[in-house]
Amino acid sequence: MEYNDMELMISLASRYLEDDSIVVVGTGAPCAAAMLAQKVYSPRLMIMFEAGGIGPLLPSMPISVGDSRTFYRGLVASSMPEVMETCQRGLVDYTFLGGAQIDRYGNINSTMVGTDFQKPKVRFPGSGGANDLASFCWKTMMITPQDPQRFTDKIDFITSPGYLTGPGAREEAGLPPGSGPYKVITNLCVIGFDDETKQMKVESTHPGIEREKVIENTGFELLWADDLTISEPPTADELKVLREEVDPYRYIIGRA
């Protein structure tokens, strides 16, 4: 069955969202992954949005994490402090982040490119809630295209914490123990984090993707799982639900 990169990434991400857990998502691919998970694997997955929406029956993809879709027929229409405090309290299992750069420890830059903070070469939005979610949620995931500019150790600004400088660094910084990056899902492979070194470790490459291609598209040295596998492609069921129910207008999956 034919599928594009975005469909592949969303399908793969959806499988990591366990039932009876809570995920805070933004708009776009992460929201699509959470919706897909709800419809295929985890009917009781609880979706939260950082502006206050909790447990909506999403009628369509939200445009903003604060728009009215995010609490349409929801369980709670709350507030930003309520959602952030629920995260800080340790109740939220998963979140998804995006960014312009990511390093081997899963640290993410969504603030700026350049060296002068007050006069950056390129300015991005900044943390928004990303730093908070990366600090508080137990498992942080990322859905992103992979290229050597994006996957780099020369990260210009750490907006949101991954494992910082390695083992023990999060705890030393005062971040809640046990939390941190979990999976990075790219157009080439699925990457986890090595338990000992806290560095990126490729767990599976996508069908047709050579190891070499992954290496070429990464600006730092990757670890490789001993039991490296081939990513399971999207199932017919995943694709059907994704195309017909989750994103019928192809807002997200049309971007690939």
């Binding site: 933004g26 708009t27 776009g28 950082e50 502006a51 206050g52 929406g53 009628p59 445009i63 903003s64 994490v65 604060g66 728009d67 009215s68 995010t70 609490f71 229409a77 709350s78 507030s79 930003m80 402090p81 952030m84 995260c87 800080q88 640290n107 603030t111 002068d116 903070f117 007050q118 006069k119 950056p120 070469k121 390129v122 300015r123 991005f124 939005p125 900044g126 943390s127 928004g128 809630g129 990303a130 730093n131 908070d132 600090s135 508080f136 600004f157 750490i158 907006t159 949101s160 914490p161 910082l164 660094a169 999060r170 030393e172 910084a173 005062g174 971040l175 809640p176």
Partner: protein, 340 residues
Amino acid sequence: MDNYIKFNEERTVTYKPAGSGKIFTDPDADKMREYFRDQKPRKMVDKASSIDRVVKELVNDGDYIGVGGFGANRIPTAVLHEIVRQQKKNLGLAGHTATHDFQILVGGKCIDRCDVAYIVGLEARGLSKSARRAVESGEITLTEWTNAALTWRYKAAAMGVSFLPVRCMLGTDTEKYSASVEMECPFTGSKYLAVPALYPDVGIIHVHRADVYGNCQIDGIMVADNDLARAARRLIVTTERFVPNEYIRRDPAKTVIPYYLVDAIVEVPFGSYPGNMAYEYFSDEEHLRAWLKAEKDEAGFSDFLQRHIYGVSDFNGYLDTIGGLKRLQELRATENLVEK
């Protein structure tokens, strides 16, 4: 019986400023207590005003502003446009998911400093060229925070304390460009960041309904507006519609902003346009795209602002430029999932 105090003797600890950022507003809770005692309008009297007047009387050049809602959801567009129209200068802004609101104020060149959590972007819609130009030129002084950090800075102010301990930002460059202080818990010794109370000079919030005294109801999510309303020195509210005081008293649990916090209130139907107003009208994605497109070159953007802001005398004039009630009715249908 356990006693869970880890430290039960006097001890010295270190407070370590963690960021190079500036604090743009005074976090002193005692000074604000005096301000609130002397200046907050405790009279329950008719405070209905006009957009023109509230901006003239309550927004001064140099003020630091906090905007309610969430970027392009339940934002007080009419006041933001009027600030641009009256050419207010050197404003500070709490960039707490500031998307279209930031875009408007930067379009008018009103801002010279900003506490950043989220700026220059419009979420899934893309980045604002004009806002990026302004920020990348260095003309706006920035201090970096996060959405939660800014929300808690409002909350500290709302609680009447000059700081709160938080666990975000730690270990990152966001921390390094913030103005937070590393400290530890007196009971557990755990590391925290202290963030300073944020008391804006002016808070501006759009609500679903209110009485003329300023008792306000909001439907749906609150974002950070209950705290912002309590933190602001002066508070301007715009409301979709006025309701009688009796309506407010029918369900007092729904009042999120009591009158004694409000300095002036203006009825502005469709006041969050082109933003979304829950249960009322959806965001006008077409018009927001037009903004993003117009920003691509400075001359074109000038014309755009002329047409939609400078060239009209008030918010109703603006609504006429985008298709008036006919367009607004379409957005109402979209919001309420009415099939066309």
